[in-house]
């Protein structure tokens, strides 16, 4: 094994381009995904700044952008949604953390298919370039909303973006291909390449979650890929898959889109839940409460998520009997998610909690996500959804789930694993300023929008002042509050970027295990070299043995021998190890 490490090390002296664009090392690929995702987040953040300014001060020129036309507004809203979900949440939560953590946490030197991994990133980069390029084609980027419902998306006479809409479909399809390649790698690595001694129930929760999410993605994206081919043909060749005039059906797209779209929520939620689980265990110095229950509930969530999609279509003219059915399944899916939240709270109970920056992010994830979950109940029930559909209530609910997932989840993970990624600590002081600024501002954005939404404010309206019912002063005041809170939140982000870059070069040296954590990635040097471990580790216990009795240290890394396994562990070993 040492010899293997030496040959790996010998390959490190490669050219800069070869190292950063052509690397097969899972950590470099993870960084590529992370930085591409964060760069795309800047674009996504800028688009929301522009269109929120338009909503707060309609018709006024927006600083740094200028006057926003109705068509531009549509493009900006569409691109904000598309970028934040497909080019920020997925690459960062699934691909960046998946690539970085899976081999390290499973005690491997790399993914099982490093070249497929490299190809995955290259296809993803291509998709990002295609998407960003669509801003610059004539008539601008796609303006048919991120859900791309036909006929709006299928006919350029409706969406007014003939080139943008086609580039959008191509970019999304390429992105899916990239994640299919990545997913095969993640699942195969986790199944086949765990360290000796590591059973399925010794695998850290974040790896479980990323793997379950990858399986969900692979099992749900196919129909949408087929749907994307059909949409592309509708746009370019003039077929009529979604055109009622030729016997096609626009609702078909909605089925194909949401059959993927709803599992997709869990594709990004589960990795974020996993990241939070790791952080909570480490900073409450307690064993995760109900480890196996969390795994089982995650699997249950994944299965149920395939049977809820039509709750997005309650007003699309679906059969009311079908609507009742989907109301029931939707309410059922909140049970396993609520159970996971309870288990996290039970883990915190009685722990020795340290409020580090990653821990603050993890706790805020639970709090904010619960608001998102609870408001979702109103939308999952067909009766109340018919009133709330396509209002700002939906938008606020959605952001109370996706902001915790994509943004809080990312900050939790980055601040927690930064010492491992770059070998240095981030500044806690700047981290906390950034945390409070972001979290407080975030709530001031979306609580007003819950109120305007419940009062009937429609989404995707370019200028509310054009509608007398929506143009009342109190509504406009709340819109301005939301926009000002957004600008405040964005203004806090340079603190994070500054902290990130400064800590990369000037932060205090971290050492291998600054958080005194148990999982295998903390055994490797920080940052881990090519090949990760000097000697590939052997695993002796589960990942969350904190504050074990009759041990001096309050943590017990997975790779340190000693201690008798419990009968349950023996049973599990016998079962999965054979």
């Amino acid at each position: 094994m040492i010899a293997g490490y030496a040959t790996h090390a010998a390959h490190r002296d490669e050219g800069l381009i070869k190292k950063y664009l052509w690397s097969t090392d899972h950590k470099i690929i993870a960084m590529q995904y992370l930085f591409t995702g964060m760069l795309m987040a800047l674009i996504g953040g800028f688009t929301v700044y522009v269109f929120r300014m338009q909503l707060a001060f309609p018709g006024q020129p927006v600083p740094l952008f200028g006057r926003v036309s109705a068509a531009t507004y549509n493009s900006l809203v569409t691109m904000h949604g598309t970028i934040m979900i497909f080019w920020v949440a997925m690459p960062v939560l699934l691909a960046a953390f998946g690539n970085f953590l899976i081999p390290l946490m499973l005690g491997c030197d790399d993914m099982v298919f490093p070249k497929v991994n490299r190809l995955s990133y290259q296809v993803f980069l291509l998709s990002a370039i295609v998407l960003v390029a669509s801003f610059f084609v004539p008539h601008g980027a796609f303006g048919g909303a991120w859900t791309a419902y036909p006929p709006l998306s299928a006919r350029s006479t409706y969406n007014l973006t003939p080139y943008g809409s086609t580039l959008w479909v191509i970019a999304v399809a390429l992105e899916f291909a990239a994640f299919l390649l990545g997913g095969v790698n993640f699942v195969t690595t986790a199944m086949n390449s765990r360290a000796p001694g590591m059973t399925m129930f010794d695998v850290p929760l974040v790896v479980w979650m990323i793997v379950i999410a990858s399986v969900l993605f692979m099992a749900s994206v196919g129909p949408l890929l087929a749907g994307a081919v059909m949409l592309l043909l509708d746009q370019t060749l003039g077929t009529g898959f979604y055109d009622p005039a030729t016997g096609g059906d626009p609702v078909l797209w909605q089925h194909l889109f949401w059959f993927f779209g709803h599992p997709e929520v869990y594709v990004v939620l589960l990795p974020a839940m996993g990241i939070v689980a790791e952080v909570i265990a480490v900073f409450s110095r307690k064993k995760i409460f109900g480890y196996k229950t969390i795994v089982y509930t995650a699997v249950a969530t994944g299965v149920i998520s395939f049977f809820v999609w039509a709750h997005h279509q309650f007003i699309a003219g679906i059969d009311p009997r079908m609507a009742s059915l989907f109301t029931v399944t939707t309410l059922i899916i909140s049970v396993p998610i609520a159970e996971m939240v309870f288990l996290y709270i039970a883990t915190l109970y009685g722990g020795s909690i340290t409020l580090t920056t990653p821990m603050l992010w993890a706790l805020s994830f639970i709090a904010e996500f619960m608001i998102g979950g609870v408001t979702g109940i109103f939308l999952g029930a067909a009766g109340s959804d018919i009133y709330l559909h396509d209002t700002y209530f939906v938008l606020a609910h959605f952001h109370y789930t996706f902001f915790p997932i994509a943004i809080i989840g990312t900050f939790t993970g980055v601040t927690f694993w930064f010492p491992k990624m770059f070998g240095r600590m981030m500044s806690e002081r700047l981290g906390k300023i950034h945390f409070w600024g972001t979290i407080i501002a975030f709530n001031f954005i979306f609580i007003p929008l819950f109120i305007t939404g419940a009062a009937g404010d429609q989404r995707r309206v370019y200028n509310h002042l054009g509608f007398p019912d929506l143009a009342t002063p109190w509504r406009q005041d709340l819109r301005i509050v939301a926009t000002m809170a957004l600008v405040t939140m964005l203004a806090f982000q340079p603190i994070f970027i500054f902290n990130f870059i400064r800590s990369m070069f000037k932060g205090a040296l971290a050492g291998a295990n600054p958080w005194r954590a148990n999982t295998l990635e903390w055994l490797a040097p920080s940052p881990p070299p090519h090949g990760n471990f000097a000697e590939l580790p052997v695993v002796y216990r589960g990942p969350y043995e904190y504050s074990a009795e009759d041990r001096e240290e309050d943590f017990w890394p997975q790779h340190i021998p000693g201690g008798m396994p419990t009968p349950a562990e023996t049973a599990v070993h016998g079962q999965w190890q054979a």
Partner: protein, 191 residues
Amino acid sequence: MSSTPIATTRNVMDVPTGRLAVWWVLASEIVIFGGLLSSYVMMRLRHGAWAEQAAHTNTWVGAFNTLVLLTSSLSAVLAHHAAERGDGPRAATLLRYTILGGGIFVLVKSFEWTHEIEQGFTITSSLFWSFYYTAAGLHAAHVIAGMVIMFIVARTAARNEALHRVENIGIYWHFVDVVWIFLFPLLYIAK
């Protein structure tokens, strides 16, 4: 990178890593074709009139292609056998027969399509023809991709290298077969 990671050589599940990966690829492929074909079936059930359009497809050409594709799978199985015996060159020859089968399939398909387009049945003629060309086209793309990969696998197998790939590409080829076995009755026989 030249050296294979140690991770690739591990085998916790007792299933070779490459084969495991192929099965996961197929799992995601199944839902691609599954989505397309169930969309087709749902719409077909609502539009009885599509049968008139479907009457113009040539069942005999479709049947011939079914025979060609299934036969090509036989040589893929024999190639797997040869690879298991360690006879790389033999496996390579058999894989090339499979490529030939795929080639005949694609050739027949292109004549068939040319004829249909000449008769005025294009992808925009009606929704039936849209599905016909989309589904069969997606399938043909998989056939061509399989032929390219098989060509590469046959080249290394001829040198007795990476023989486990012979089985993996075979699994993929059988999948392409199975998809066609769904397409043939749905597009040709159901009239």
